[in-house]
Every structure is written in structure tokens, then in C-alpha cells.
């Protein structure tokens, strides 16, 4: 090794670590989120919805944007977590919301682990069909066992216990938003840590070239199972948050529309840099809200038009710029 090697080694370490450093815009983003807690009390209901959708989209970004697994049935895990939280609360198995949330996430993770083996092989098309199938299957199961799930009427009589034994969820949504935002932030930091780790790097290599990834010794399948399980856990927690904050859960949590909307959200925001899901959720919900207030019946038309435009006008360029701002190398 040459004399310059130690210098080079330092440069190597610095460069790799640099990518993981928090950028100013990221701090600003979370600062704004925190500020909304105090400055926009009237908007807490929709903000809580946005935060739940953002978490759900973050979950999809973990598998789609970072590991290249395309899913049209991510609602399977969202719904599983939602029903888990509902049943835990309804039957007073775990009353404490945070613990129930964790338990629901773990339940969804278990389902994710079990079904991950179905998405290991095959093309994007196979994965689309398999994930879609799993979600449809779960919806029918929930429909069939209506003595447990309430069937088409939804799960009634859920009363979420006060948070930390003190803060009750009420109709203003203040507690709900603070709760959802805090959970979103914690899980975001964890996800950020994961994608900047060697494990996260190996996932991106698998996304880029699975053949070469296995040829340099990366256990491709094991890594994919791991991230799919983690993403399922995230989606389950998002679902559980919805149940806890609305005290209601219906078959709609498993619906195809939910999975498809999620893909839309992520495409609007851009994949592969973690903020895409959050930005997409904000844009999607605000547009939905805004357009619906102007012309309620044409909401689908405008979102469709927007989607076509985003894809044609070059989402990649926009997303690349956003990624640059938020500090990821790609």
C-alpha cells in the first residue's frame, strides 16, 4: 500500500459517513412538522391522517425504493396491524396504546415474514400478483370470520385507552396527531439508520443487480426476507395507528384501493430517499382535500391527470433534485 493510504482510508470513512449526516433541509422538515403541532391546531385531524399515510408509504419505500420489491398488496400488513390493534383494544388484551401498537406491529411482522418467501422469486409481475393476492385473501378471511372481525360492519366498540394513562384521544385530534407524529419520527429515524447501514447498502445492491450481489457473497434471499418483514412491521404499525386514533376498523383497511393509492403516494413523492413517502402523503392528502372541496365528484379525474403528468414530465428529474436536497447520493 502506498504512503497515501492512511489519508485515503480517512477519506473513505468520511465519505461513507457523510451520506448518513442530517441535512439542513431534513431538520427544517421535522421542525415544520413539530411546529404544526402548535401552530395548526385546527388541522390536526387531517395532519394525523397524513402522518399515518406517510408512515405507510415509508414502509413501501423500504421494500420498493430500497430493495426493488414491487407490491400492490401492501394493505395486507396495514390491515393486519389495524385489526390486531382493534382486537387487542376491544377485548382489553393490551390496553396501553403504545404496547398494543408494538404488539400489532409484531403481528404484522410475523405475517410479513411468513409471506416474504412468496416474493423472493419471480419478476415484478409475479410479485404484483402475489402481493395483490395475499391482500385479497386476508380481506376475505376477515369478511368470513365476522364473529371476530365484525365482517362488513367493521370492528365496533373499540375504545382506545388514554395514552400513557393520561392523554385521552378526543375528537379534536390533538393527542392523536402528537402521538402519530412521535411514532412516525421514531420509526423514520430507525428506517434512516437502517438504509445507511451496511445492510441497507446491500439491499440497494440487490435492487441494482441481484446476480452480482450474490456473486460477492451477499445472502440475497435472507436480506430480502429481513427487509420485507421490517416493512410489514411498519405497515402494521401504520394500520394500528389508524385504528387507535379513529377507534374504528373496517374491511376497507385491506382494500386494493388502499394499496394502489399507496403506490401513487410514493410515486408522487419519489422512491428511494425515505422522504418520498412523507412528501407524497402530504401532497396526496392536501390535493385530495383541496380538489374535493372544489369539485368533489372529479377528484379521481384530477389525480389521474396528475399521475399521467408526473410520469410523463419526468418524475425522475424532480425526484433526483429532491434527493439532492435531502442529501442522499442517489
Amino acid at each position: 500500500m502506498s504512503a497515501g493510504a492512511p489519508v485515503l482510508a480517512t477519506a473513505v470513512a468520511d465519505h461513507l459517513a457523510l451520506r448518513a449526516r442530517w441535512r439542513a433541509l431534513e431538520v427544517a422538515f421535522w421542525g415544520a412538522a413539530l411546529a404544526s403541532l402548535f401552530l395548526l391546531p385546527g388541522k390536526h385531524l387531517i395532519l394525523a391522517e397524513i402522518a399515518v399515510l406517510g408512515l405507510f408509504a415509508l414502509s413501501l419505500d423500504l421494500i420498493l425504493g430500497h430493495a426493488g420489491i414491487l407490491s400492490l398488496g401492501h394493505a395486507a400488513f396495514f390491515g393486519f396491524g389495524a385489526y390486531a390493534a382493534g382486537l387487542l383494544a376491544k377485548h382489553h388484551v393490551i390496553d396501553e396504546p403504545v404496547l398494543a401498537l408494538l404488539a400489532s406491529g409484531l403481528a404484522a411482522a410475523a405475517l410479513g415474514f411468513a409471506t416474504s418467501f412468496l416474493v423472493l422469486r419471480g419478476s415484478d409481475l409475479t410479485r404484483l400478483m402475489v402481493t395483490l393476492g395475499v391482500a385479497m385473501l386476508l380481506r376475505e378471511v376477515a369478511n368470513r370470520f365476522d364473529d371476530i372481525t365484525g365482517g362488513a360492519d367493521g370492528l365496533q366498540g373499540i375504545a382506545t385507552a388514554p395514552l400513557l394513562g393520561r392523554f385521552s384521544f378526543d375528537i379534536t385530534g390533538h393527542v392523536a396527531y402528537a402521538y402519530v407524529l412521535a411514532i412516525l419520527f421514531v420509526l423514520f429515524v430507525v428506517a434512516r439508520r437502517i438504509v445507511h447501514s451496511p445492510f441497507g447498502l446491500s439491499l440497494r445492491s440487490i435492487k441494482g443487480n441481484p446476480l452480482r450481489a450474490s456473486a460477492i457473497g451477499i445472502p440475497v434471499n435472507r436480506r430480502l426476507v429481513a427487509i420485507y418483514t421490517i416493512a410489514a412491521c411498519y405497515a402494521g404499525i401504520a394500520g394500528a395507528l389508524l385504528t387507535q386514533t379513529t377507534s374504528f376498523c373496517s374491511l376497507d383497511v385491506f382494500s386494493f384501493e388502499r394499496s394502489a393509492d399507496l403506490l401513487l403516494v410514493l410515486i408522487i413523492g419519489g422512491t428511494g430517499y425515505l422522504y418520498g413517502g412523507l412528501a407524497g402523503a402530504v401532497a396526496f392528502k392536501l390535493m385530495q382535500d383541496w380538489i374535493a372541496s372544489l369539485t368533489p365528484q372529479y377528484w379521481q379525474f384530477w389525480i389521474g391527470l396528475l399521475l399521467v403528468m408526473i410520469v410523463l414530465v419526468g418524475r425522475e428529474r424532480v425526484a433526483a433534485r429532491l434527493r439532492g436536497l435531502f442529501g442522499k447520493g442517489r
Binding site: S2, A5, V12, A13, A17, P198, S214, I216, G217, P219
Partner: protein, 251 residues
């Protein structure tokens, strides 16, 4: 000489077509062993069988005496068998630094670490830098792989395999597509490999084959046709007939 890599009656059929028939090949430890043959002879199929990308229809593969026929590709890498590809298989969105870092951290068993920022384990850096410098990739280590000149990409292709510190290295046409004037960089990289590393390589460039190989196996129509020292193969009229043509007579 102990045997580094051995196949016993290896067969591979694609539907009705036999891509590999009864291949029994022995590669001695430390060998510089060339695998030559006309296009479609099954050379790359054999490499894919050896590395586990394809599984054989019949036969066995032994790496240093141990049966690896059923082992997953990444397990074979961990046991010391690495390869390069005829057509570059790189991580286009990565930098050379990230690519090599990935391979090194995987080799040392840190590739699954999920709660540590990549690059924070300083003990890896010397290894990474060593590979980058050896393959003259240090000056481009922060550039996106997709934007590198082809010659550099070809070097990275080999560097990635070397970063796995293989005991047996399979090179699938290492100089393929590299312009004449950049070829020496690839050649010197291959020639400077430590002696204890066993090298089995496919190559069409006969100058390279005869300057580097100490043993040559000739494949024709999916089977091993003949094997011998470069001199023996060069003199074999049957080899000349099926493949080499006039080139060898000149050499």
C-alpha cells in the same frame, strides 16, 4: 498437487439441449488454467454451474475436496470461490468505493449490520483502500460506476471479485471489449494475483491465453475435448481443426 476445484461428470440440459455433457475437470491449487473453445461450447455455462447460478442436471462439484454442488451462490463465495462476468455486472448507481466496501464488509461478516452507519468500521478501510489502489480505482472512487470509462468498469469487475479474497477465482473473459491500449492494465491486474490464488479463466484472446496459462482445457459442444500444457494444445492438430485455426501455428 492438491486439487482446488474439481467437477465430476457434470451435466446441464436446457430442455432438450445439452449445454454441458459429462464435464470432469480438475484444477490444481495455484493453477493458471485456461478454458478455451468456440462460441457456444458451454464455457460460461460451466462457470455458472461452478458458481451456483445454475444447478447441474447431474454430476458433482468439489471445492478443495468439499462437495458444494447444492450450496447457494453466496455460500460458495464465502468458501473461497469468486468470479467475474463476461458482460460487466456492476452496481451502476454505486461508487467504486461503495461497491468494494460492500464486498469487503460482506466477506468479513459485517454485511448484515443494520444499526451502524456504513463506513464507520474503520478496520475495513485498509482493505478497501488496498483493493482500490491495486486496481487503480482510487482516483475515481467517488464517481458513479455507470459514468466510468469502460476500462475502469472492467477493472472494477475484477476488483469486486478480488475483494472477496477468493482462493479460487473464475474469470470469464476478463479482457472482453477492452481496447488494445488499455488491455495491459487488466493483464497486469490479473498477472499480479498472488500465487496461492487458483485461477480458471475463459478467454478468446490467444495471446493472453498463451502468455498466462500453464494449463489449457478445450471445450467443444458442451464437453471437454482435450487438456494439456499450452505447448501440447498448440501442437494438437485436432484442436487446430475445431478452434484455433492458423493463429497457433504462428505462435
Amino acid at each position: 498437487m492438491p486439487v482446488a476445484l474439481e467437477t465430476l461428470g457434470l451435466h446441464k440440459n436446457f430442455g432438450g439441449i445439452a449445454a454441458c455433457t459429462d464435464v470432469s475437470l480438475r484444477v490444481e491449487r495455484g493453477a493458471r488454467h485456461a478454458l478455451i473453445g468456440p462460441n457456444g461450447a458451454g464455457k460460461t455455462t460451466l462457470i455458472n454451474l461452478l458458481t451456483g447460478v445454475l444447478s447441474p442436471s447431474a454430476g458433482r462439484i468439489l471445492l478443495e475436496g468439499e462437495d458444494i454442488t447444492a450450496a447457494a451462490p453466496h455460500r460458495r463465495v464465502r468458501r473461497g470461490l469468486a468470479r467475474t462476468f463476461q458482460i460487466n455486472q456492476l452496481f451502476a448507481d454505486f461508487t467504486p468505493l461503495e461497491s468494494i466496501g460492500l464486498a469487503v464488509s460482506e466477506r468479513l461478516g459485517h454485511g448484515g449490520d443494520w444499526w451502524r452507519v456504513a463506513g464507520s468500521r474503520l478496520s475495513l478501510d485498509a482493505d478497501i483502500v488496498g483493493v482500490l489502489e491495486r486496481f487503480r480505482l482510487a482516483e475515481v472512487m467517488h464517481e458513479r460506476v455507470a459514468t466510468l470509462p469502460y476500462g475502469k468498469q472492467r477493472l472494477l469487475e475484477i476488483a469486486l471479485a478480488i475483494a472477496c479474497q477468493p482462493r479460487v477465482l473464475l474469470l470469464d473473459e476478463p479482457a472482453a471489449g477492452v481496447p488494445e491500449e488499455e488491455r495491459h492494465e487488466i493483464l497486469s491486474a490479473v498477472a499480479s494475483l498472488p500465487r496461492e490464488v487458483t485461477v480458471l479463466f475463459i478467454e478468446h484472446d490467444m495471446d493472453l491465453v498463451f502468455s498466462f496459462a500453464e494449463r489449457i482445457s478445450v471445450m467443444v459442444n458442451g464437453g471437454l475435448f482435450t487438456e494439456g500444457s499450452p505447448d501440447e494444445v498448440a501442437r494438437d492438430p485436432r484442436v487446430k481443426a475445431v478452434y484455433l485455426g492458423e493463429e497457433v501455428v504462428d505462435a
